[in-house]
Subunit: 292 residues, 2 copies
Amino acid sequence: MSDMLNEKTRASAWFRELRNEIVTAFEGLEDAFGGDEPAGRFEITETTRQSDDGSDAGGGLMSVMRGGRVFEKVGVNISTVYGTLGIRAQAAMAARKGLEGMAEDPRFWAAGISLVAHMQNPHSPAVHMNTRMFWTPHGWWFGGGSDLNPCIEYAEDTAHFHSVQKEHCDKHGTEHYQRLKDWADEYFYIPHRNRARGVGGIFLDDHNTGDWEADFGFIQDIGRAFLPAFVPLTEKRMAQPWGEVEKDKQLVHRGLYAEYNLVYDRGTKFGLETGHDANAVLMSLPPMAKWV
Amino acid sequence: MSDMLNEKTRASAWFRELRNEIVTAFEGLEDAFGGDEPAGRFEITETTRQSDDGSDAGGGLMSVMRGGRVFEKVGVNISTVYGTLGIRAQAAMAARKGLEGMAEDPRFWAAGISLVAHMQNPHSPAVHMNTRMFWTPHGWWFGGGSDLNPCIEYAEDTAHFHSVQKEHCDKHGTEHYQRLKDWADEYFYIPHRNRARGVGGIFLDDHNTGDWEADFGFIQDIGRAFLPAFVPLTEKRMAQPWGEVEKDKQLVHRGLYAEYNLVYDRGTKFGLETGHDANAVLMSLPPMAKWV
């Protein structure tokens, strides 16, 4: 397997470009909301990954907006990390992917964008999006997805979110959307609560058709689907009246979201186990949550 | 290995007795606090464990007090569960304990008490206590511990908590306390935050000296240490004045507590994986928590 330096550079650059578009759009929503409170703005922090031996291990850019008019807390992380996988991560990856040679050459490289938005208005759905490229000397793949997490569900919002995902998947053939939707239903399921964490979306992992260019185009389109799938829902709901009953629903739903992320989420586990900045990995956790 | 029916019955009965003492003491603290708000009372629910094949799998008693004068949320669970371990739990247990024959005869039985208290007053420390007996045809053991989780640390409170633990451990020989304290420091550590979740306590697992009677006496004394270690701290702090700054510290500290329980806690993982009522397993989660 080649080092794929060119591909890695292009993937990293794309995740950064997508991050910039999203950050601009979200600050635009804060401005559009109006009112006397100041419009929310992102705070930006460089993050670093610690390697056990102190060698350069990569890092990223964490952008968090807290206490905005529209967004109660939203984080948009990008990172490019590399090094060697520890024994446990090697074993987990070798087992999951059937990769040979991980123990002999445990190098890895990964880049991605990860986003979670928790909204002020309980009618306005929370959302998650993440796409990434993973490389080892024994294989590369893309993964990611996007799912909608309303605490008060509106069928028309769910339909809009899914239709935009479908439209973007369909550019690469009509066989993808249903498979990725089903995969999201399975992946974003909370077994111990016997329920989905939200109303679904799309998810894929281990994506490698052998054609990097085509697969990269597909992962880019999953990223491009995000703003048109999400922003219109925010515009529709962000000023809808709400009271304490709705806020309470939202806080309890966020507890469920935190449970999912801490117990099951693959990216969270990988991030914590490989020593990335915990504040960046756990930026997805809600600003405030409730358990009854 | 015998079925140890007599020992199982005695252990189960002890956990219930300890639960009754604690519930009475905690409702007494609610009464003692006084004031116009009603004194908090426990709500009691029978919980059941689901086995895959629908056979009897045990259950327990979940006692939760919410919104009291002293306790914002406190749960005291007892349970006695049994059945056969699934493939994953078998493998995990065989690997951790070096047990042979788990795959051929994967029966298990476990009983225990588990308690977490989240307090109204941020000066009043949160606390956790859990003791349990575990049986398989291939071996039995006791485990558990107790640790103090203040968001505002007072050296004198920490010293009192530890001295009562030591006194009870010392009844069984002076060699135990330091080992159990060190074990708690290791066990209640949050690697991704590079910090302890609280100010420690005691912890042990896989405790089997070959003398069930002596080991049961030891686990009973760990249980008996709980009220004298914790109640005086509550009495001292429950009426201490506090403001928004302290409450905020408490909410953030609870976020840390939730992280620990969902990512690392052995009992939580075991409970969720073996199908016990999720509300009972996750009763330890804070009523409200915050992530910045």
